[in-house]
Structure formats: C-alpha cells, structure tokens
C-alpha cells in the first residue's frame, strides 16, 4: 500500500509516497536522489547503506521507511559538503582513506557515531564499533589512521 510519509533527512523535510514496507535505503536513493548510502548486501551484513538516527548507526537496507517516524536521518552527504566537509570527512580526505569508496558511509558514519558517544574511545573500542563494516579494497590502515586523527582533533 502506498502511503504518504514525511521524512526528515539531512535537516530537510521530504514528503514521499511509497509502500510503507519499502526499505529506507531505496527511498533515500530513488525518491530523494541521495548517493551516500548505497546497496551493498541488503542484509545488514556490510554497512554500505549506513545512516545515523538518534545518534545511532542504522542499516537503512533493512529498515522499513515507515519505522523512521519523526527521527532525523543523517546520511554521508548530510555531514558536510565538498566545500565544507565535516572534520571526520576532512580527516579521510587528508589521509586518502578510500580506494573505490563504496563502503564509506559505513566507515565514516560508524566512526563518527561511536566518537560522538565516547570521544575518548580507544583504538580497540573504535575497531569494535566497526566490526560489521566491510571494505573489500582493504583500506583499513588509512581509514583507522583518519579516524584516529579526527578523534584526536576533536578532543583538543
């Protein structure tokens, strides 16, 4: 059944008319034209579709759009722009922490979410948070370096 649903995404309200069971990811991609969250597995196994809601990372490929409610959804493009990247994006830019870049929503948003909750998270705690995030180009070292750089900068 198609329903009218209001979504709050990256600080803007959007009215969409979709089947209530539609995964949030499809709505972000197909209705709102967002490119940050991407379809990796459709099974919450890889993190490519990650968004942030209520400060928590959410796998948008398995969340029905009707379950979003009034919560603000933040996608990778909601953090910062090419002209004014968010500090964590800036750290990734400076470290060149990407190869194909397909997985970045999961990596960047998950790291941001854990550091928002626990700014002094240890390397081990950051890694634990990234336990469900997959990068098949294996850019792990640079990504962790960028996250550490961001974590240190936001502490000072």
């Amino acid at each position: 059944m198609r329903e009218k649903i209001t979504l709050n995404v990256n600080g803007q309200e959007h009215l969409v008319e979709v089947d209530a069971e539609t995964p949030l990811l499809f709505v972000l991609n197909d209705e709102l034209g967002l490119r940050g969250p991407r379809f990796g597995c459709g099974m919450a196994q890889c993190g490519a579709c990650t968004v942030i809601m209520r400060g928590q990372v959410v796998r948008s490929c398995v969340m029905p759009v009707s379950a979003v409610g009034q919560d603000e959804v933040t996608t990778l493009e909601g953090l910062g722009t090419p002209e004014h990247p968010h500090p964590i994006q800036q750290a990734f830019i400076e470290e060149g922490a990407a190869q194909c870049g397909f997985c970045l929503s999961g990596v960047i948003l998950t790291a941001k979410a854990v550091l928002d909750v626990k700014p002094d998270a240890s390397d081990q705690e950051i890694r634990d948070a990234l336990g469900g995030v997959l990068c098949r180009c294996f850019t792990h070292i640079r990504m962790l370096r960028a996250i550490r750089k961001y974590a240190e900068a936001r502490r000072t």
Partner: protein, 770 residues
C-alpha cells in the same frame, strides 16, 4: 636570451597539491568535452581521438583505461597535465565511453600503466599535442620552438609575447596523427607526474557526492531484478506468473531461454516480484565433493601446456643427493565486491545506451550488440564506477542483463543484483593445486626442479565475442570458453611467464635461449587446465597468486632442507637484477637476520612469532616485489596474527607514490584476507558462499599489521604494472613466517586455525609428510 632546452622543460607545468581540487565532472555523468560527438570509430592513431583543447583552455583527454578505485583517474590526469604543461585542475579525463574514447580493450592485468605511461597511446598523444602546440605557437609568435617556454597552457617567447593553447587550437581539431617521434618529458623534470597528488575523487567520495553506477538515474527508468537458477546447469522448466500478477507496478516478467527477470516500477516492488515469482527448474548435474576436490581435479582430462621443459629433469632428480616433494592447494575465492553489481540500460528501437561499471567498455558494447541483435554503432557503453572490482565481478553480467530487460520493455531499466545474485554466480578466482619436486646437491644447491599444476577453468571475461563466459550468456544458450583436452606440446617460441607458473629460480630456457630469472637449468613446468564446475575469472593476480604461493613456499622448504637462510638461498639461485634488488631491499628494510628456518628453540606453548619472505617477478617482467611478513601464531588456538609487512617494489618510474602506496597496502591486506580466511564453499548441488556470513572476509575490526613500503627504481626502465605485484607474494610470505615460528608448513590456503593446528600436530610428530 635563449633558454637552454633543459630550463625550458623545467619551467613547464606546476605542482598544485590541493585537497579541494576534485573536478566537478566527478559529481555528475560524464560530458563529452568540447565536441558534441566524436566519430563512431575512434582511430587511436589520430591525436583528436585522445585529446581536445576547449576554448576555455580545459584539456579534455579520452582514455580507454578506467578507474575503479585503483587511482588511474588521478595518474592519467597527472600524465596529461605533465606532458601538456598545465595545472591538473585544467585536465578533464573522460574514461571508457565507447562513443568518444579509444578502444583500449579491458582495464586489467596491471596493463594500464605499461600501456598508457610509456611511449604509446595516451602518453604519446599528450607528447604529440605539446609539440604540435609549440609548433603552432612558434609560427604565431615568429620564433623558433627552442625559444619558447610554456607554463600552465601559456606559451611565451623571448620578447615576452605569449599565446594561450585555447588561442591556438581552442575547440578545433588537431587533425594530426600521433607522432612516434614526439618526446616524453624526462622523468627528472616532472613536476606533476611522479608527485603525491591527492586522488582527484576523494572529496566527492568522502562527502557522499560521487556518482557510482548505482546512483545513475534516467528519466522514465524502471527497476529490474533477475531470478537466477538454484544451481549451475539448471534450466527453466516452467514460469508461473500467477503470484506476481497482483504486484503493483509490475511491467513484465522476462523469460528468454533460461534467463528470467522482472521489470517493475519501483525497486522495492521489483525485489518482491523476484522473490514471489515461481520458477520450476530442471536440476543441473551433481557437483564433485569439496572435500576431495583437488584429487578430483587431478583425475580429469586436461588441456596441458608446458612453459619450460629441459627434458633432463627426471635424470637429474635421480642423481640428486636428496629429493623434496610437496603438494600445495589454493581454493576458489571471490571478488566479493562490497556493492552488489548494478547497471542501467536504455534500449530503444534504434539505439542502446548502457551505464556500466564494466572494466571492459568496448567488449561489453560488442556483447550487448550481439545479445540485442543490433549493429555495433547503435550501442553505447558509458563507464560509471561501481563497487571496487579486482577483476571480473558481476559488472559485466549485470550490464548484459539490464540491456535484455530494457530491450524487453522498451524503457530504461536499472538492474540491481542481490547479494546472492552477485556471489553465487560470479567468475571465481580459480582453484588450483601444484605438485612440486626438487633435487638438492650435496652442497645444498638446487639442481633440478619439476612442477605440475592443475587449474580449474570455465568461462572468463566475455571479451568481444564470448557471451557464454559469464552467467548471462550461458543462460541465453551461449557456450563458455572451455579447456579443450590435449597433451602438452614441447615449449616453443619466446619464454613467457605470464601466469607465474615458472618460479623465479628457473633459467627459463627454450631452444637454448634463456628468459627466466634464475639459475636452475634442469626445469619443467607443466600446467593442466581442467573444466571447472563453476565460472572462473581473472581475480586480482589470477593464477599468479596461486602459483607464487606454491613456488615461494616450496622454495622455503628447499631452503630449510639445505639449512640455509631464506634470503641468501634465494640469492644463490637468482640472476635477475631487479628481483635481486627488491629481495635485498626488503630484507634490509625489515632488518632481516640471516639464519635458517625454523627459528631455533621454538616454544611449544603460548604465542610464538616468526618471519618469512617471498619474492616475484610479476608475469615475468611486469613489476617486481619482495615481501617480509612477521606473524604471531597462537599455538593453542591455531590463530595467525600478521604483525608487520615490509615490502620492496620495483615498478619502474612511479606516477604517484601516494596512490601506489594505497594500492600496495590494499593489495597486501587483501592478500592476507585471502590467505587467512577466504574460501568458496559448495555442497553437492550449489555454491553455498552466498553472503558475508557464508564467505569470510576480514572486517574493519581486524587488528591490522603495519605495512612499510620501499620503492626501488632503477634508472631508464619502462613503467610496469603495480596493483597486483605485492598481493601475489602475500600468502607465501605469511606461510613461510608460520614455518619460521613453528616448524609447521601450511600447504593449503586459507590458513584456518584448524589447518594450522593440524600442521602443528604433524610437525610435533617430527613428520614432514607430503
């Protein structure tokens, strides 16, 4: 004042390192540059096929080598900026659009750098253009070329008069052929190429603005899904549309022989339709059990080929003081791209456009034309990056599938594979087993080496004319490329080591002419290619990683028997200065202590550590690497923890050291994941590795080792490939480090805790069983 030529060259170009220089073209679909179209047959001999200068001074370059995360967008832009003496921000690179880019086949095999960065193709085009522009300027300014200097596209004469590129040629064709005599700028003078320019795509990537093929949207676009067979060889018996008829937005169920797909208005409904469509399948053949697969492989009829055969191996082995034997096995592995593949196709009665992440734009055009029964000229393939690929993921198949679906409904269709569509049907990295024997003399030198491998093969890249090489073509009734059984012919022609079947220690002699890297003259390398029950394809370092794992670990075994230091023992059997160069450089950078393996006085409890080394001349002559691995082994659990990698790489002149380091780090860690955890599984009917719970990969929580990289760059050598060199030696270096730490030899990839414990138990019994 007349500037000496050297100063002129130096004055050219400008190094701009900026983090915000990502060209706008990355944010949206490629536009073609100053000309609305190029001729449908782009002639690679013509300069205009490669380069155009707009009236805004933007240099648009057209390349047939595309970036899927390996950095070729950035380095090709650097190349053009360097040769044309402009800022990199003024270069716009159009990649792999068959309507405007030259046909450079497939972006693969570590061939982009050798092809476009030496004395042909894009490099030659850029050099030709610079010389042509200087010639035009000389005429315009009335001064000889020698008097002119150029900086950022402005050519200045001795009197201070100047002229811009766009004034000379803006929006006009050069109408010139590539000049074989055009001179590349000397590497010593480079100001843009060879520098660590930040990758041009990174800002768009990190801020979620980058356009992947998954983000391409076309007006009026519908959504497709495919319904694949449950197993290899299954055929359609019956399709029952009853249950899907009520799905709102259903446009069509498409059935063409054994190809089944649905086209629906929205993506969500497409997933429902694909799930609910009832298809009855006739079963495929039973699969050989995974448990004994390598024995099975060795019993099949095979296509045999000899890389070298000195014809005295058996006799020399009979003379040897000792003969060592071993069998190594390497499993099927997956490309396993993080994003399931996607493509968009818009097939109209008189034309077809496919937005595709294929590494083979032109071959894909050719296959699409064939599947749609259209002439080539009517089909356009536009490359748009997908998820990182590493060879041949689902990008080709999904492009063909999308074209078939769009053709069936006459509207644009976006097709997204499910995770299972991607993993169950990809062209896997080949499973392979290698049997080796070598004879040692009394002094420990190797006097003869015999090796035989069995490789599983079915299909490949589809190329220009073999749709059956991937699943789509097979479903449509096309035959895949198959190894045709035949016995081996004596090796003839020039020695080639493209698949690294031949260890670096062989002299590589054919009819008296020796092209190998080593000193062992009694040598044989025989390959048996056997029909695989699954599709196979060129997964990063195809067969090179499998063969090098066996060759380099076996070399380590010989070394242990000779009680020699692994570096010294290798040097004793090498003669190629570039392999020797990287071997010495890696050992030095890792502070390698000369001694034999295993380490003396190894503990029998707790965690032990060791170091191992491996080296390779990739494809014989396409890059050289040596890698030292330092690993911890937990003797109780059998868990391997690599702690440090030190790699030395020689790939000739380096286009971008930062990009190269990224490739090397990624390659080594990917190689480590493949060595430790990756293995495709199957039951008696089908592949059972269909998602990330059934196929292992190291996630971001893995405690990664450090990677230190050393570059070795001899003078006056051409540029080689670099993306597949370090990964090639990774499983062997880890395996050798485990042996050093424990005395246990791992001969099966992946090195699972179970296998490690079994090898530990075997070595504790003093057995070196093979």
């Amino acid at each position: 004042m007349i500037l000496p030529r050297r100063d002129f060259l130096k004055s050219c170009g400008a190094l701009i390192v900026s983090f915000s220089s990502g060209p706008l073209s990355l944010l949206s679909a490629q536009s073609p540059g100053p000309f609305s179209t190029h001729p449908s047959h782009i002639d690679p001999e013509k300069l205009d096929s490669w380069l155009a200068v707009g009236d805004d001074g933007v240099v648009t370059a057209y390349t047939g080598k595309c970036d899927f995360g390996q950095g070729i967008l950035t380095v090709q832009s650097q190349l053009v900026a360097e040769e044309l003496c402009v800022r990199i921000a003024r270069v716009k690179l159009i990649q792999c659009d068959t309507s405007i880019c030259p046909d450079q086949g497939t972006t693969s095999g570590s061939q982009s750098t050798p092809t476009n960065f030496n004395s042909e193709n894009l490099a030659l085009a850029a050099a030709t253009a610079r010389e042509a522009l200087l010639g035009l300027a000389a005429k315009k300014l009335g001064e000889p070329v020698e008097n002119l200097t150029v900086a950022d596209g402005v050519i200045t004469g001795t009197m201070g008069r100047h002229v811009r590129y766009e004034d000379l040629i803006g929006n006009k064709h050069f109408n010139l052929a590539l000049s074989a005599r055009a001179k590349r700028r000397s590497a010593a003078d480079w100001t843009v190429l060879g520098k660590p320019i930040p990758s041009l795509d990174r800002t768009a990537l990190m801020t979620g603005q980058f356009e992947f093929v998954h983000s391409v949207r076309v007006p009026g676009m519908l959504h497709g899904r495919v319904v694949r067979p449950p197993e290899m060889g299954a055929t359609v018996a019956h399709v029952d549309e009853q249950l899907v008829r009520n799905i709102p937005g259903l446009v069509k169920v498409v059935v063409r022989k054994d190809f089944v797909g649905v086209v629906v208005e929205t993506q969500y409904q497409a997933t429902l339709a694909a799930r609910q469509l009832v298809v009855q399948w006739n079963p495929g053949p039973e699969l050989p059990p995974q448990k004994d697969f390598f024995d099975h492989l060795q019993k099949q009829r095979a296509h045999d080929g000899l890389s070298v055969d000195s014809q005295d191996v058996d006799a020399r082995l009979a003379d040897a003081s000792s003969v060592i034997r071993a069998r190594y096995t390497y499993p099927y592995q997956m490309h396993g791209s993080v994003g399931a593949s996607c493509a968009v196709a818009d097939v109209k009665p008189a034309s077809a456009t496919v937005w595709s992440a294929t590494q083979s734009a032109y071959p894909t055009r050719s296959i699409v034309a064939r599947l749609l029964n259209m002439t080539l000229e009517k089909v356009r393939v536009i490359y748009v990056r997908g998820s990182g690929c590493y060879g041949l993921n689902g990008a080709d198949a999904v492009s063909f599938d999308a074209a078939i679906l769009s053709h069936a409904v006459g509207k644009p269709v976006r097709l997204q594979f499910s995770r299972q569509d991607e993993m169950m049907w990809e062209n896997l990295g080949s499973a392979c087993t290698v049997q080796l024997r070598a004879g040692l003399a009394h002094d420990g030198r190797i006097i003869a080496w015999d090796r035989e491998d069995w490789v599983a093969s079915l299909g490949n890249r589809p190329g220009y004319d073999q749709p059956g090489n991937v699943i789509t073509g097979m479903l449509l009734g096309y035959e895949p490329e198959l190894p045709e059984p035949r016995s081996a012919k004596p090796p003839a022609g020039k020695f080639r080591n493209q698949s690294n079947t031949v260890p670096s220690y062989f002299a590589g002699c054919i009819a008296g002419s020796c092209g190998g890297d080593g000193t062992i003259r009694s040598e044989r390398a025989l390959t048996h290619t056997v029909r695989s029950p699954f599709f196979t394809g060129p997964l990063r370092s195809p067969l090179r990683i499998q063969n090098t794992f066996a060759n380099e670990c076996f070399m380590d075994e010989l070394c242990a028997h000779a009680n020699a230091d692994p570096v010294a023992f290798r040097l004793l059997h090498l003669q190629n200065s570039r392999v020797i160069g990287v071997l010495k450089a890696a050992a030095q950078a890792a502070s390698w202590q000369a001694r034999s393996s295993p380490k003396a006085g190894v503990s029998r409890a707790g965690t032990v550590s060791g170091r191992g080394i491996a080296c390779v001349a990739y494809e014989g002559n396409n890059g050289y690497a040596a890698l030292v691995a330092e690993v911890d082994v937990d003797l109780e659990t059998g868990t391997i923890r690599p702690r440090r990698f030190v790699v030395a790489l020689d790939c000739g002149p380096i286009s971008n050291p930062d990009g190269l380091r990224t490739q090397i780090e990624g390659g080594i860690l990917q190689g480590m994941s493949r060595a430790l955890v990756e293995e495709v599984t199957w039951d008696n009917r089908r592949v059972t590795s269909i998602d990330w719970e059934t196929y292992n990969s190291l996630y971001l929580d893995y405690d990664m080792p450090t990677v230190e990289t050393v570059f070795v760059t001899p003078p006056n050598v051409p540029a080689t490939g670099a993306g597949e060199t370090a990964i090639t030696v990774t499983p062997a270096a880890i395996g050798n480090a485990i042996f050093d730490a424990t005395g246990a030899r791992l001969r099966e990839v992946p090195f699972t805790p179970q296998r490690v414990k079994a090898a530990l138990a075997e070595s504790a019994q003093g057995g070196e069983k093979v």
